[in-house]
C-alpha cells in the first residue's frame, strides 16, 4: 500500500466516522480518560459514571449509525448498549484499554438487534397502502345502519341496553353496571347473547 493510498484511506475513515472533531480523536485519545472514569465508577463515583456515560453516548451513536438506518432505532440501540454496559460494568479491568471492551459490547448488541430485526422481517410483512385495496363497497350487504338499528331493536330490552352501553357507547363494565343496575356478569351474558343473536340474524340474511 502506497503512502497516497494510506492518505486516502485516512480521509475515508474520517468521513465514515463522521460527526464533529470530537469523534475523530475518539477513541484513542479518550481511552485513558474513560478508563479512569470507569475505574472510579466501579468504586462508586456517581459523577464519574454520569460523565463517562454522557461522553461515550455520541461515540456509541456513531457506531450504531453505521449499522442501523432508522433514527428511533439508533437511539434505542444506544440505550440498549448503555444498559448492557451498566449491567456488566464489573467485567471491565482498569489495567486494560477501555475502547476494545466498549466496542465489543456495542457490536454484540448491534448484531443481536440486526438479527432480531431480520427474524421479524422474515415473519412479518410491512402493511403497504396497496394491501388495503379491498373490493368495492357492495350495495345491500344488509349491514347498513338502518338494518342494524332494526336488528338491535328486535333484541330483548336487557340485551339491547347492555349492547348499547358496553359496545356502542364503549363504557367500561363497571360504569355500565352502575348506569344500568345490572351486575357485571349479567352485563357480560347479555352482551354475549345480543352479539350471538345479531350474528345469527345477519348470517341467515346473507345466506338467504
Amino acid at each position: 500500500m502506497t503512502a497516497r493510498d494510506l492518505g486516502e484511506r485516512a480521509v475515508v475513515l474520517r468521513v465514515v466516522e463522521g460527526g464533529g472533531p470530537d469523534d475523530r480523536e475518539m477513541p484513542r485519545l479518550r481511552d485513558l480518560d474513560w478508563s479512569i472514569l470507569m475505574a472510579r465508577a466501579q468504586d462508586g463515583d456517581r459523577a464519574a459514571y454520569h460523565r463517562l456515560l454522557t461522553e461515550i453516548s455520541p461515540y456509541l451513536r456513531s457506531l450504531a449509525t453505521r449499522r442501523l438506518w432508522n433514527g428511533a432505532d439508533i437511539e434505542d440501540a444506544v440505550q440498549d448498549i448503555l444498559l448492557t454496559v451498566h449491567a456488566i460494568r464489573h467485567t471491565y479491568d482498569p489495567a486494560r484499554p477501555f475502547a476494545p471492551w466498549l466496542v465489543t459490547i456495542a457490536q454484540r448488541r448491534l448484531i443481536d438487534r440486526l438479527r432480531r430485526q431480520g427474524r421479524i422481517r422474515r415473519r412479518e410483512v410491512v402493511m403497504e397502502p396497496e394491501h388495503e385495496a379491498v373490493a368495492e363497497p357492495q350495495h345491500d350487504t344488509g349491514l347498513d345502519g338502518h338494518h342494524l338499528q332494526a336488528a338491535v331493536d328486535s333484541l330483548p330490552p336487557a340485551q339491547q341496553q347492555a349492547l348499547r352501553l358496553v359496545k356502542l357507547q364503549e363504557m367500561s363494565l363497571k360504569d355500565a353496571s352502575h348506569a344500568s343496575g345490572m351486575s357485571i356478569s349479567a352485563l357480560k351474558v347479555n352482551v354475549h347473547r345480543a352479539l350471538k343473536t345479531l350474528q345469527k340474524l345477519f348470517s341467515d340474511r346473507d345466506q338467504s
Binding site: 482498569p94 465489543t104 459490547i105
Partner: protein
C-alpha cells in the same frame, strides 16, 4: 421511549459500587478446584476403579486420560477468558489440540483393540452407575459454570456455552474413566466422546438461556 440523557441520569444515580471480576485464570482455577473437590468426594464415596494402576501402564489409556483432562482444563480457561468482552475470540482455539489428541486417541484405541466386551457385555448395573457419575459430576459443574459466566449472556452466549460445556464434558469423561471399568472400544467411544458431545450440544442449545436465567436471578 425515555430520553438517553434521562436514562444516563437514572443509571448513574442508582449506581452501586461493584466488585471487579478476578482475572480469568484465577476464576478458571477456582472452578477447576471445585471440580477436583467434587471428583475427590465421588472417589471417596465410590472408590477408584480397582484396575486403575494397571490400566495407567497402558500408554494409550494414559494418553487418553491426560488428553481428556487437558481438554477439560484448557476449555475451562478458554471459556473464562472468552466470556470477557475485550479478549480475542482466538482463545476459543486453546483446547483444540488437546481435544484432537483425545479424540484421535479414543479412535485409535477403538481401531486397534476392537475388544468384544466379555460374554455378558457391560452389566446394566454398571451402566446405571455410569449415568449417576455423569449426573453427579456434570450437573454441579454446569450449574456453577453457568452462574460464574452469567454476564456472558449478553455478549457471546453460544461460544462461551459450547467451550464451557466441552470442559464439563471432558472432565466428566475423565471421571468416568477413573471410576468405571469401561475400556472396551465401543464403550470408550460412547462414554467419552458421547459425554463430551452431549454436554457441548446441551450447552449450545440451552447454555445461552441458562446464563440469561442466572443473570436475571442473581444480578
Amino acid at each position: 421511549m425515555i430520553d438517553t440523557p434521562d436514562l444516563i441520569t437514572s443509571l448513574s444515580s442508582d449506581m452501586k459500587p461493584v466488585r471487579r471480576l478476578q482475572p480469568p485464570l484465577l476464576r478458571a482455577a477456582g472452578w477447576l478446584g471445585f471440580a477436583a473437590v467434587l471428583l475427590a468426594l465421588i472417589a471417596i464415596n465410590r472408590g477408584i476403579r480397582p484396575d486403575l494402576a494397571e490400566r495407567m501402564q497402558d500408554a494409550a489409556f494414559a494418553t487418553s486420560m491426560a488428553a481428556a483432562l487437558a481438554t477439560g482444563i484448557l476449555a475451562a480457561v478458554a471459556a473464562f477468558i472468552v466470556s470477557l468482552p475485550d479478549r480475542s475470540r482466538l482463545w476459543l482455539l486453546l483446547p483444540v489440540p488437546a481435544l484432537i489428541l483425545w479424540l484421535s486417541n479414543v479412535g485409535y484405541q477403538c481401531l486397534t483393540h476392537w475388544v468384544v466386551i466379555g460374554p455378558e457385555g457391560i452389566s446394566p448395573g454398571e451402566a446405571v452407575r455410569c449415568f449417576s457419575t455423569l449426573a453427579l459430576t456434570g450437573l454441579p459443574l454446569s450449574l456453577l459454570l453457568c452462574i460464574m459466566l452469567r454476564y456472558a449472556a449478553v455478549l457471546r452466549p453460544a461460544a462461551v456455552a459450547i467451550t464451557g460445556s466441552l470442559s464439563v464434558g471432558a472432565l466428566t469423561a475423565t471421571a468416568l474413566s477413573l471410576f468405571h471399568t469401561i475400556d472396551a472400544s465401543a464403550m470408550i467411544l460412547m462414554w467419552n466422546v458421547g459425554t463430551a458431545a452431549m454436554f457441548a450440544a446441551l450447552g449450545a442449545a440451552f447454555g445461552g438461556s441458562a446464563m440469561g436465567w442466572a443473570e436475571r436471578r442473581l444480578s
